[in-house]
Symmetry: C2
Amino acid sequence: MATRTRRSQRRTEALSRERIVEAAVELLDTAGESGLTFRALTERLATGPGAIYWHVANKDELLAAVTDAVVAAAVAVGRTAGTRQSPPEKPEPQASPQDGIRGVALGLFEAIERHPWLATQLAAQLSRSPWGTVTPRMFESIGQQVRALDVPESSWFTVTSALVHYVLGAAGQNAANSASARALAPGVDRARFLDTVSTAWEELDPDEYPFTRAVADQIRGHDDREQFLAGIDLVLAGITATQRREPRPGQE
Amino acid sequence: MATRTRRSQRRTEALSRERIVEAAVELLDTAGESGLTFRALTERLATGPGAIYWHVANKDELLAAVTDAVVAAAVAVGRTAGTRQSPPEKPEPQASPQDGIRGVALGLFEAIERHPWLATQLAAQLSRSPWGTVTPRMFESIGQQVRALDVPESSWFTVTSALVHYVLGAAGQNAANSASARALAPGVDRARFLDTVSTAWEELDPDEYPFTRAVADQIRGHDDREQFLAGIDLVLAGITATQRREPRPGQE
DNA sequence: GCACATCTGGAACAACATTCCATGCTGGAA
DNA sequence: TTCCAGCATGGAATGTTGTTCCAGATGTGC
């Protein structure tokens, strides 16, 4: 607790909204959602609550800013078609729109994997102000790729919404997996964790859960990322299937 | 505040886990997520904290129980193919699996619409214990319909996951809409709310948000439920498109 | 060198989840 | 009936949280 060097540090590393957000992200990553408290923040930034409250209105606004910052970085990475830190000289010469969508989706997927708290926060932020700054960000990144498909403009909104919603739901669930896999077995491979889940599902009531028991074994070998992309491809296939036909099918 | 009749009521309406969960749901519905406090619970149940803690371990467990109860009711309704309170005598004679899936999805959709806090809680519960009691419930309801499609067994898990994930993401987002529409304009129609959002999107930076600005106008007339089902149909179309082909397409 | 708005941090406060414990109640045994 | 064991209860007390208040420090205009 460096209490004596504060005055000389004052303007050397001045407090700013960005520094607060940065510290909050680190706290969330290391200590989890319950680890982000104003007291921990003041200690980490060697300051007092008043200083923080001068830059952010309250905890909700801080969480919103944190979520927005991480999402912004995620879709920025995703926009370069999914390869992490690709050299910006030739940004994917003839990447298909499908690959672009996979890239953005994977960017969000990996962001949630890196920051497990992001799943909950995304849901919370979308509930609090659904049309805030985070929704347009994802909407824009995916929508730009949708526009590159041969989808009629009247369907842009619906199609993009479907993709965004799938990404949100899937990434959230998969982030939860990796989070508890990490918590349950820090060093052990996730195979052990998946095996536990699979066994638990196999022991469900046969009358109530026949289907879940039947697919329980498929959990064991599965790869989160592959399955996530398989879902994306499912939606993409649905898009091309329903948008390419001439006027409309008589009955589904 | 009936403080005097407590002793005679003691065993008349005994405290139970179910009564606590029921009261918690009502509190969440009327006062929002922040309205569910142990103090409010004790007042509503005319008891003390110790009595509640005798039945539930802590707030997290209470929230898990509450979420599970609401989800269980939702998929039970959805399983009867989407029509609310249909007479149980003839439960949908020749309903297609597609309609079954739409029914279960709509059941969850409407549950989140009725209980706006459910979206956040679902995300939180899935993050805390992803393979708890709520995931198998949704998985089973949708999976039983997937099995009725002509999908090969090897794809059951992937296909069902994709559907569940879309439902979670879409229902969460749409619940957020109706929630803030209600909060913003209690009596006014949601057209006014959608108009506000649309205008906000039209005023975004043209360089950063060209697509979002382009589709902003499509927000105005759109119906949450229709769009939700359109997304479901998109995934269903993708399923039939990719699963009906004989062995496998050479390249996507 | 002086005043001003900007910025800081410590102390104080209300609300919260949770724990503790003395007391009440109920169903069965004497 | 009377008693007792143990399930069940509710009020008081505790520690932590988000948030507010305010006296003072800091750097910038004169």
